[in-house]
Subunit: 411 residues, 4 copies
């Protein structure tokens, strides 16, 4: 819009109250101050109007939304409407988990042609093999503040203090939350900087905010008790929204595995290939290729399915980063194929965050996963969907169908 | 929805043509076959109706969309409506790039409270410092097929053949595309597997599909010329949608840097801290903390801003993974602060993919970035937005304001 | 020697007993069978003679060793003599650790000109600053077998069985060793493969063999109790002799930190630079440069000092890999410089391995570190030496002296 | 020795000339000043005597060396003697490389019991399979200085200047060396720091010093031509003596692959296992296990063999770090087993460094690899030895023999 600001400066000065749109463009009014003065509904219209006028463009589609401005306030500032992302359904997919038992549709919001079709095909193959077996192997949201100590001796003393005052720290942390439970604190030292990785059980919320607030309270207690200075409430060893080995190795959020066993007949009839061919491609591409690239994702396209479900169900899209971590493994198993996906850091919730928005809530409902008591069930279904997506794509590569599939679907 | 399939099985069998919804639930009709028979509009309604009936839930909000089913067909299968994600505006942000010159609004689709406010604050500080200087340092989309050779000698011969037939390979590759240009091919060998990382200039498209199709044509020529067997069109050294060192080091898509220089007065008045404090936090958190965690993201929250803009403008959400890579650097500079963000793998386009959908096109228009000739401009603005986001958050941490900001914004 | 085997084949066949050297060359006798027949002394001579004759070369220097063949048998097979590596002394270095208190010479075996001089200079600077403060923050040798389970359910059951039978497993493990104590077992799952990372306290031995043998006993108990199959006694998550994030993050062997505080006067007079300059170089090179390269070593040359001491004192040279991991951190501290090295995976022992050989034992004695009760003391001194080496090199870079130093020392 | 320095301070002050040993202990004389005054022979004796007296220990074995002090001066300072490391022979091993053709003994200096025996067994199996095929796929020593630019625009201009003045830079670099050839310069930018990774062909020297000196001359030309400031001659993107993805991916020094094809009969008779079992273990341990640990070494024990040969032949022991990088790959191949090792960063030389010392020179001679024109031959043989070591160990694991082997060899 080259000149939004410029234009504003050039125009004659109007009283903002008389024309708040002009006031916004001139910078005399601030976008974030409008809701308090005019209410969220009018504030939203004014922001849109100002942006439209300043840039000479229109935001009709953005304005056409089921989201009510008032409802959006806890989750966004300077609200102007919605981004609408196409939504497709894959499945139903049969999942036999500890929490998820049954058949489930997978809502996927995406603009990548062929993705839903591919996952859908995978669901069919998994179903034909009796469904995806899935389980949540660990469940802990982490936050790792960094403390500065005076020197090594002080760091060692601080670390010891934390070990010896775990109950007091727990009390401080859990006092901030109704649902969070402190599972443990892992210390890491570099020079005189002490990182403390707090792990919380956060119920059905993804839990990043809960963990942050609880950790802040704990950090204050530690500062007070030890004299160490809190340098950053997040010291990046959490690790949130950055790909990191610590998450690949130790996990974060839900650590989920889904697996399926296919007979050689099924591999042949539905995937048009053999177990050996799938294993061979998986080794060369997902293991050796990824390793040679210094990757932290040993899979074909976890992120596609994770992103699709995240956008559909109100998860944090930036945490697709962690969702991309993990392994696809394939083993020739007797006469058939053992195929599994391992997602160490699937960070999801069924309450809080973006889950309560209209389309998101509908998609969670569709999966039987809205609200309390559903987060692990949801994680197992997502893992099942990732399994279907990997199986379909790896099968296509092994059978040499990939190019044809892309061409057919117009990509 | 435990039982979608189950229910279907239990009901009496109706002729699908009489009640296609029942036919879908029973599995006699396939979701992806509907559009051809009934048209996209009716097909979409039938899919929704079937999913609703099978699960006993409703998808009214999903159905309420500005996206027309017919338009969605190239980008999604089994379309049922849209996911609506709240959209807020930050800025305007002043950017002085090679391609982007002026002030630009940043549309951010997110449900993370405080994010838009924080980026918005950062924009103000950057503007007060004269704007973000930005540049695209490299621009290449990659695809890396894996070939199996008979043995080491064959691999060496294949590698040599590729070097000696670069023009023929280029011709095969570029024959598939009107815009893509082959920039080069980097070979990598592990055992007898040869990975060839193709790099393309892809104009204003993000270019993954273009690169894939062009690489496929090239791969066939290589198979024919050498006898090496194509094991996988993507051998994961691309690396697409997985975090990988090769992208952090060598780049993928747009490699962009944005920087700003702040006087100490500005740091004090607007960020309530000092250059030294920002540098100290940046070192402990973004460099040391990330390194100790084995991370590939040496920043605070690139992914938040990248995801926000990606969802708003029709980029591929799964490529937030690559967008999370990179560095925030802070240096005490004479009396002030030099602050920069380096994003080696920002994979964006202003044509193709999801960019043509209604709200996405509006957001690109708002930024003056819709259509051809705008991709590098867009990349520079996004980098500027990431700079604003990092500066605001790092300033808040350095000043100890973070807890207060979260509390104030109701997170 | 192109043709060792070839020559042997061409010659006339002699009875090996008549001329064992010819027998060896012809392959009728095996090198490793000699000691039993002829004794270690003669066996050693015969091997040398055969190799010399087959290749037409001499091994006089190799033969001229203080190591007696009989003594070498537990540590090497097919012994023919010794490799002699030049040994220099740096120091004395003042160390104030928990275990090491006093001044210590650092014996360094190396052929890299300028290295000993540089470490020696660093010792002088550290001494002038009051010595290196050092501490061992963790001490655990790890071994991680990989088990194959039937499926996910079996993996979960196996993991639970291990948790519930920790005492029985400990008994099995500790029954194999007089010194090792099992500290804990960390489980990691990928598909149906279960990795169990065993951590042991191994007294004054480096402990890899102790840990291996104890883990093998434990693994048998686990196999028997669970039906999971041991695929590999080392499943590479240990991680031994490969650089790995898990070691950088979680540590292996001794996790040691050494630090020193220098006044600005000292930085100026002895290093000819300033604290700010050292911090700046450390950030650009050791943090940003390493990170951009996807490195696991955030330091200048840990490996040089670690290798020098390891070769001098009988440590395992292959574990220089782990010793290269870690951080050099530099902070402007009031008027001066805070400087530290953090080595998360220093794998050393003062008993066992190569420590009992003649020159190695002398070097350990020189450091007051031979035998039982000395391993942590030794680790602290090594960390102090690494600190001296980093300080000297970083000071030289910051002052621009590096080129001159290299030229002066004839490199 | 707690008190070396302390003792010195307590004693009465003697004139150093009268008793230089006392002078050394008191710190009035410096260890590195002795050679100039007394000559290297006497200087060496004095240093030993001082260290012995200060610590109350003896260095007889250290003193008993074939290395003449005068000869050691270019490679070490404060020389006091030698470290003697047991040396054993494996092989002969048949190698069919581009440069190495024939059968070669592998001298291994190690104190790890069973290692030589295991490699030796591997040599036998490889020989029975027709030998190791090997090749050098790349050969380039790198050095990556870091430059500070004023801002992004200056960085871009500097990068362009370098591209446009490649011939002038080459002239400056190659003017410092008789053997080195500049192959190329790869630029990497983070904020306003520009890393330039210089790649050199360094003949038969490992080449680190050659590359450093040549890069320094080039860096001066770049500083002069662009105004960018050289912050560090090594900016850690080289990456030397730190494990780094850039080396795993792009290579450094010699990139070498060695492979062997075994019939199923041979696998059964000599390794007591099957191809499938070897493949299975390789996948679980060397690929999945390493990946889950965030490792850069996808092999069993490259570092053991690399270290053994490096210590025997005068290579730089700190570069075992890079030698530990790389892949072991195993594939079921028709009826047999294809087995390969890929070492992307084997940094070796046959001239310079420690290669000219007595035992080292003998070991190089034994391999037919001493002096000019031998470095690639040497690299191929080492890769062959690594192949033998991996094959033997992986076979032992697959057959379940490992525990027994260790017990038999007394480890």
């Amino acid at each position: 819009m080259a000149g939004a600001k410029g234009k504003a400066r050039r125009g004659p000065k109007a009283h903002p109250a008389e024309d708040p749109v002009e006031g916004l463009i001139r910078g005399e009014l601030k976008m974030h101050e409008l809701d308090e003065t005019f209410g969220a509904e009018i504030g939203t219209q004014l922001r849109r109007a100002a942006a439209e006028r300043a840039t000479g463009t229109r935001m009709r589609a953005v304005a056409s939304t089921v989201i009510r401005p008032e409802e959006a306030r806890k989750n966004i500032e300077n609200f102007v409407g919605a981004s609408q992302i196409p939504l497709g359904l894959a499945g139903p997919l049969r999942v036999e988990g500890e929490y998820a038992k049954g058949s489930f549709y997978l809502p996927l919001a995406t603009t990548e042609g062929a993705l839903v079709a591919s996952v859908n095909r995978g669901c069919g193959v998994v179903n034909a093999a009796g469904g995806a077996r899935a389980g949540v192997l660990a469940d802990a949201m982490t936050r790792a503040p960094a403390f500065v100590c005076r020197d090594l001796a002080h760091l060692v003393a601080t670390r010891r203090w934390v070990q010896e005052h775990l109950e007091a720290i727990r009390k401080a942390a859990e006092g901030t939350t109704g649902h969070g439970k402190l599972l443990g604190i892992s210390p890491y030292a570099v020079g005189r900087t002490l990182f403390l990785r707090f792990a919380f059980q956060t119920g059905d919320a993804m839990g990043m905010n809960m963990a942050t607030i609880a950790t802040e309270a704990a950090a204050k207690a530690i500062e007070k008790g030890t004299g160490a200075r809190l340098a950053a409430l997040s010291g990046n060893m959490c690790t949130d929204k950055k790909a990191a080995s610590i998450n690949l190795t130790e996990g974060r959020g839900k650590s989920v595995i889904a697996e399926v066993s296919l007979s050689s007949k099924l591999v042949k009839e539905r995937l048009h290939t053999t177990a050996d061919a799938v294993v061979d491609v998986n080794t060369r591409k997902n293991l050796v290729g990824s390793a040679k690239a210094g990757a932290l994702g040993y899979n074909a396209h976890f992120a596609n399915v994770v992103a699709g479900v995240f956008l559909a169900t109100g998860q944090d899209a930036a945490q697709v980063v962690e969702g991309s971590l993990g392994f696809t493994t394939a083993e020739a198993d007797g006469d058939g194929l053992y195929f599994a996906v391992s997602l160490p850091a699937l960070e999801v919730g069924t309450v809080g965050g973006g889950t309560r928005f209209p389309t998101q809530q509908e998609c969670l409902n569709l999966m039987g996963c809205a609200g309390a008591g559903k987060a692990r069930k949801f994680a197992e279904i997502v893992a099942g969907g990732v399994l279907a997506g990997e199986l379909s794509l790896m099968g296509a590569i092994a059978s040499g169908d990939l190019g044809k599939a892309h061409a057919r679907l117009g990509r």
